[in-house]
């Protein structure tokens, strides 16, 4: 998938002649590349998968204005019960007169904050066609006006939005997530997950477009679309040159690769280094913040490492060919981490047992 995408757009190779020593930024597609309707499947896919920053905004504008003129709007249910509406808020960042148009005209959105009247609750039945359900928070089964099962039953697809809804966290437990997954399987409703704190806006609009025009996207083992989560973030990181040269940041705010400050880049699958947040303006590493792996199932503990715990195996990093096989390295590192933690636990267990044994064997004070 990734290889194909690279072949389609010349000049987007990560390594090779003409490579910038400071690493690569995502290639910005010229605005003219996006045609007006009717869209070819190929150019649509290109937009969904590849564009970053300004081009994506222009593309959205053209797509929305072209689509707003035709057809009945697709119903979309945005369930945001008892949640910090991080993902909702992040949506406004795509220069969004177009998003306003998207939510008001192209999609028949229920539950979108800005359009919700006072005291209006979410619709339960009577959708014009099968809705797409966006779950930003998992509603409590006790809430009578949030009948999740009824929605899942009717839905065309269910999208889990944000790390909290995808893997559980502070206000959602993993059991809640499993319950909804089981519900989806029971009703044969396909579901996918868009983790992130927040989800890059482009992912949401892109996946919805993909659902509407291309079909259900291919998923990885964590139910994430491979389109966006098929690469580790180091792959297009502007500091990957520093990693290859072995220039590491010594403290927060320093220049250089952030790996030794606990950056989870090598094990984090996302395209945020390419797509970026808020209209494609910037991303965590761009502002000097180490990646905290916010779209991985282990977030925020990462199996005991913590948000800023250093990945084991950072000594491998300067040998850059390993990084080029970023995905494999990521999995290997995860394995190393897991093994390290297991070893640590085992050692602690043995120490404890020995201590207990020693305590039992020691002669007692009279």
């Amino acid at each position: 998938m990734r290889g194909q995408a690279q072949d389609r757009v010349p000049g987007r190779r990560v390594n090779g002649p003409g490579a910038n020593s400071r690493g690569h930024r995502a290639r910005r597609l010229p605005h003219t590349e996006f045609p007006t309707m009717p869209l070819s499947r190929r150019s649509l896919l290109k937009w969904i998968a590849l564009t970053a920053g300004g081009a994506a905004v222009t593309a959205t504008a053209r797509l929305t204005s072209a689509l707003a003129a035709q057809g009945n709007p697709a119903p979309l249910l945005w369930v945001n019960d008892d949640g910090a509406d991080l993902n909702l808020l992040a949506q406004l960042g795509r220069d969004l007169p177009d998003f306003l148009e998207l939510v008001s005209a192209r999609w028949d959105v229920a539950g979108f904050d800005a359009l919700q009247g006072a005291g209006v609750s979410l619709p339960v039945d009577g959708f014009s066609s099968a809705p797409v359900v966006l779950l930003e928070a998992i509603p409590d089964p006790a809430e009578a006006d949030l009948p999740l099962e009824r929605w899942v039953e009717q839905a065309k697809a269910v999208i889990f939005l944000g790390t909290e809804a995808c893997y559980g966290g502070i206000r959602t437990t993993l059991e809640d997530v499993r319950r909804v997954e089981a519900l989806c399987r029971g009703h044969k409703t396909p579901f996918l997950k868009l983790p992130g704190v927040p989800v890059p806006a482009h992912h949401i609009v892109g996946v919805l477009s993909h659902l509407e025009f291309v079909g259900f996207p291919a998923l990885d083992s964590q139910y994430r679309p491979e389109l966006y989560y098929g690469q580790v973030i180091c792959e297009h990181c502007e500091r990957s040159g520093d990693l290859e040269a072995g220039r590491y940041a010594e403290f927060l705010g320093d220049r250089g690769c952030l790996l030794r400050l606990g950056c989870k880049g090598p094990v984090t699958h996302n395209s945020c280094s390419q797509v970026r947040w808020n209209g494609g303006e910037n991303w965590c590493v761009g502002a000097g913040g180490p990646c905290v792996g916010c779209c991985e199932p282990g977030f925020p503990d990462h199996g005991g490492l913590g948000l800023y715990g250093r990945l084991p195996g950072d000594r491998l990093a300067p040998r850059s060919p390993l990084l080029r096989a970023g995905d494999r390295l990521g999995k290997a590192l995860l394995g190393v981490t897991a093994a390290g933690i297991a070893l640590h636990q085992a050692r602690r267990w043995v120490t404890r047992r020995e201590a207990a044994r020693a305590a039992a064997a020691a002669p007692r004070e009279p």
Partner: protein, 492 residues
Amino acid sequence: MAAASFHVSRAEGRVALAQDDSGTIRLVSTAPRDFEGLLAGRSPLEAVYLTQQISADSGVSHALAAVTAWERAVGLNPPANGILLRDLLHALSLLHAHVRHFYLQALPDYIAAADLAAYRGSWPELQRISRAVAAHSPAWAKAPGPHPFNAAQVDRLAESRLRAVRTLGVLQRMLALLGGKFPVAMSIVPGGCSVALSDALLLRLRRYLAEARPFLDDQMFEDGLLVVQHYPRVKTLGGGSRGLLCAGTLGEDEGPTQSMVPAGAYIAGHLESFERAVTESIARAYYRFPGGKAAPRALLQPAADKPGAYSWIKAPRFRGAPMETGALARLVITQVTGSRSHLGSVPADIEAALGASLEQGNTVAGRMLSRLGEARLLTARCAALLERLYPAQPAVAPDAAMFSADGVGVGDVEAPAGAVRHRLVLERGQIASYDIITPSTWNGSPSDERGEPGPLEAALNAGTLNLAEREGRLAASRIVHSFCFSMADAVH
């Protein structure tokens, strides 16, 4: 009066109100999320990141409170550039919250989105929306309501809302340039700000600010005035609280003359210092101390079956009194401390619209106009901050010792909805205990031992609202939105 309940839309978290047979309205809180418990045993660096998830609008404020508390605990002072960059990030996040709150959360209480879609002006984007809505009316467009605006005013508000959404986009770009992404900023680090400062960055920020400024300076406040003129009742709706409290913010460390908003508590015409006189009452909240009364707060246990309790929100009190916090409190306290030169005509404009003094402005109209007036001050502040950054100077003063230090620190910051306080106890660089007081906890607090309700409940019960009627529900919704109340923030 019959018992009724009402779910307030367009507020973060699940905000519900319940009215009992005697007519008393109370907030129905959701279960606590216990960020404080989650943070125990972690590194304070994780607190800077994780507390940003408490609430989307006040994320940057929480990060600043967390990092300030940590820096105070270990005695670290960031360089000037670091403080200025953080201030800029903070001012922009406040601006973003004000714009989003007025146009996307409060305005639909006064004119429904369905009515704004009946646009007849000349903007092509809005014409496309109204054509599409007329062609296949989506669910949200099926609920128009009565409103007092004429066609020209409806068109103006629709255009303003579109400009507001565009402005939010510009502000988010600025916030992302400084913080990596928005609403969770990644560049707030101990010892300063980790963003690489350059002339190019400053030029881009200046360009973006110039783009957003005409709307923020002129249009927003005018739209607020339009709403208040057409709904004169909001000038008296939602009063009832007395004390105002402000944690102080933006350039505080440069001395009181430089600070944009000084800290203080204003009760019955007296200004008092806001220091350590803050307590939290759990008389009517679902918590109890194991064993006796006097125990450290960290030992608080949830007790869903506690008799007499009705809320998961704790009740912070200043010398035993409930306090209102927010943009109104910031303006009033800035005015009475005498540092009013930078306020310009904002207090006078608000007082002219209210027909009352700012100190009596604790009404729906007063809170709304204070927020919009503050937006004007914040844009001026952002422009001034941009002029004071020097790319040649460092923005971070790293200190490796702070990752293994002991200490106690308090960070006070103003979030869009009001005062935030983080207090942490460090042991060998790890968090031993963590306390957070949020603005929505101040405003949405339940009754205390003396039976005094928090400001939001006092405001809801000041008039005679009937939640069983549409008019009463609308008024309640207006009051809740005037406090920028967020349930997610309150039960953090």
